[in-house]
């Protein structure tokens, strides 16, 4: 086994025993990136020099007696997360050469824990999309089938983990952007509770649902990363002071007596047959493990996508107003006055999906339409939240397919924005309600990975870790893609 194939847990044990060094681990990952990324195109920037320096420092600290689960562990961050001194582009022309003067809080925390940043990963421009095809720098390819998308928007991060370019990656999830690619690439992806991990230093998309989270090879690894990145941040007023529990403590505990809801609306029309069969088998496994499966109804599920595509473009149109060609980023030179700088820099700098969302948001927020669209969407959001909270009150988690079908072909949906938006259908509920949700590999449909989604109670990531880990252990999906 190559070192880059290790999980965080395995690598941490080997590092602790002195069997390997962070330098060796980091070099193995960098070699794997060199070997496979020509085909997969998961990375936008590889920071080899910085990574080797960080690895050396981690080894030095360990020699001095420092310890930690992430000390010396190499990872990749989605390129909409600010990294001081290393380019952050959001996969947009408008930020093509942008170098942030500070680190995002989660990057800072990982740095303090001694993790080693290897590279910045591809995404749909400004995280707008479900396929990573909206990147201004070209699509990422799915390691399981290079002609298919890796999902999105954190497609580069998920593909990198699936291809063993790193031990873990960071993504961001606004309406499925961690879970969708995790499912398409056959890896674990956690969207934490809204506010559980700081958004400070994330390039804002939809401030009311954005949350960063880990993409990993195992559930236990996701718990390790969350334990490091979670917590209150004075720079993000939406992170509560709530204590960060010792995530992963309940892994291995029996599922006996746990109640898992199975919402009818997530198993109906539109779910591909292979996906449905795979999920049904996983549900049977959970029953064998002692969990009770409870049929539930979530009738407002179908409104998740329309609510999301009002709230998201509205927040996008204001969050992307800051990219104006004045202080940083692309600035058009053929201009006569100030407004001309704005319209030309933005017109040339943004790609098609960013423009569509900015315009959609501008329209639904414009005078005369606010009540009909934005206010109504926020009210329906309340109904979606109440419905999920009501059911979760009696349950420990909810189980659904992560995506209605496996990864689609590159180019298949790219000129049909509405069809692409419908890819998010099973993910909007947890996002709009701010609930934690995890996607775990649960088998294959026509040779492509399928993910199951577990949605938990607010701030109860531990319960979905416990269920997901028990399933993962029993099912034992340990198959790797041939690249």
């Amino acid at each position: 086994m190559e070192l880059n194939e290790l999980t965080i847990k395995e690598a941490a044990e080997k590092l602790a025993k002195g069997e390997i060094t962070s330098i060796e681990l980091t070099k193995a990952c960098l070699a794997r990136i060199k070997e496979t990324d020509k085909k997969i195109k998961a990375c936008l920037t590889v920071c080899e020099r910085e990574a080797l320096a960080e690895a050396k420092e981690a080894d030095r600290l360990r020699a001095k007696g420092e310890r930690g689960d992430l000390l010396g562990i190499p990872y990749i961050a989605k390129d909409n997360i600010l990294t001081k001194g290393v380019k952050t582009t959001a996969a947009s022309k408008i930020l093509e050469n942008y170098i942030a003067p500070f680190d995002a809080t989660i990057i800072k925390k990982l740095k303090e824990a001694g993790a080693v940043l290897l590279a910045k990963s591809n995404l749909d421009e400004f995280a707008h999309g479900a396929s990573t095809e909206n990147s201004a720098f070209g699509p990422t390819h799915n390691p399981w089938d290079l002609s298919r998308v890796p999902g999105g928007s954190s497609g580069g991060s998920a593909a990198a983990v699936a291809a063993d370019m790193c031990l873990f990656a960071l993504g961001t999830d606004t309406g499925g952007s961690i879970r969708c690619p995790a499912s398409f690439c056959g890896v674990v992806g956690l969207k934490p509770t809204y506010g559980r991990a700081s958004r400070f230093g994330l390039i804002a998309m939809t401030s009311s649902t954005d949350v960063p989270g880990p993409i990993t090879k195992t559930v236990a690894d996701a718990a390790i990363v969350l334990a490091t990145i979670a917590g209150h941040d004075k720079n993000d007023a939406t992170t509560p002071e709530a204590e960060v529990p010792a995530y992963g403590k309940s892994l291995g505990k029996s599922l006996k007596g746990l109640k898992i809801g199975r919402p009818e609306e997530y198993f109906g029309q539109g779910v591909e047959k292979g996906v449905r069969q795979t999920i049904e088998k996983a549900i049977a496994k959970l029953e064998e493990l002692g969990a009770e499966i409870v049929p539930i109804r979530l009738p407002h599920t179908k409104y998740g996508v329309p609510v999301y595509y009002i709230i998201t473009p509205s927040e996008v149109s204001s969050n992307l107003a800051r990219f104006d060609g004045i202080r940083y980023g692309f600035s058009s030179e053929q201009v006569k006055d100030l407004k001309d700088v704005y319209v030309k820099s933005r017109g040339k700098g943004f790609g098609p999906e960013a423009k569509r969302r900015i315009m959609l948001g501008t329209y639904v927020l414009s005078a005369g339409y606010y009540d009909a669209y934005y206010l109504q969407a926020q009210k329906v959001r309340t109904k979606i939240k109440e419905e999920l909270d009501y059911e979760l009150e009696k349950l420990d988690a909810i189980i659904t397919p992560t995506q209605p079908s496996p990864a689609f072909k590159i180019g298949e949906n790219s000129d049909d924005p509405l069809k692409m938006y419908l890819e998010d259908i099973f993910q909007e509920g947890a996002s709009l309600a701010g609930l934690p949700a995890i996607s775990v590999p649960c088998g294959f449909s026509s040779g492509l990975p399928v993910g199951l989604q577990l949605i938990g109670k607010r701030f109860d990531e531990e319960m979905i870790f416990r269920i997901a880990s028990a399933y993962e252990k029993m099912a034992g999906w340990q198959i790797k893609p041939e690249i």
């Binding site: 509560p240 409104y303 319209v343 969407a377 309340t382 939240k385 701010g434």
Partner: protein, 99 residues
């Protein structure tokens, strides 16, 4: 909900986006399609339902508004990203035309 070309132009102007003719046409039909789809929200009964903006129930997270100094290099790094600098300040085009 069908948007006319004039409406698309107006929205693009409000959003400070310069669009080509081809873009105006393409986004016009795509946005109309999306608006038709999201129109289904009108059928949901939301009488007496409060809108949700903050999902975890936090309210008014207050803190002291304290100035944090950056070191000289950080300031330089941040400013160096601007396309046009003069005496440590970002220079912009005039707002109004001379005429």
């Amino acid at each position: 909900m069908k948007l006319s070309k004039e409406e698309i132009k107006h929205i693009a102007d409000l959003a400070r986006l310069e669009l080509t003719e081809a873009e105006l046409k393409k986004y016009g039909s795509q946005l109309s399609e999306v608006l038709t789809y999201i129109d289904q929200l009108k059928e949901v009964d939301t009488i007496d339902i409060e809108p949700t903006a903050q999902i975890t129930g936090l309210e008014n997270a207050l803190r002291e508004d304290v100035k944090e100094d950056w070191d000289k290099r950080e300031v330089e790094e941040a400013l160096s990203q601007a396309p046009n600098l003069e005496d440590g300040q970002i220079k912009v085009k005039r707002v109004l035309d001379n005429n």
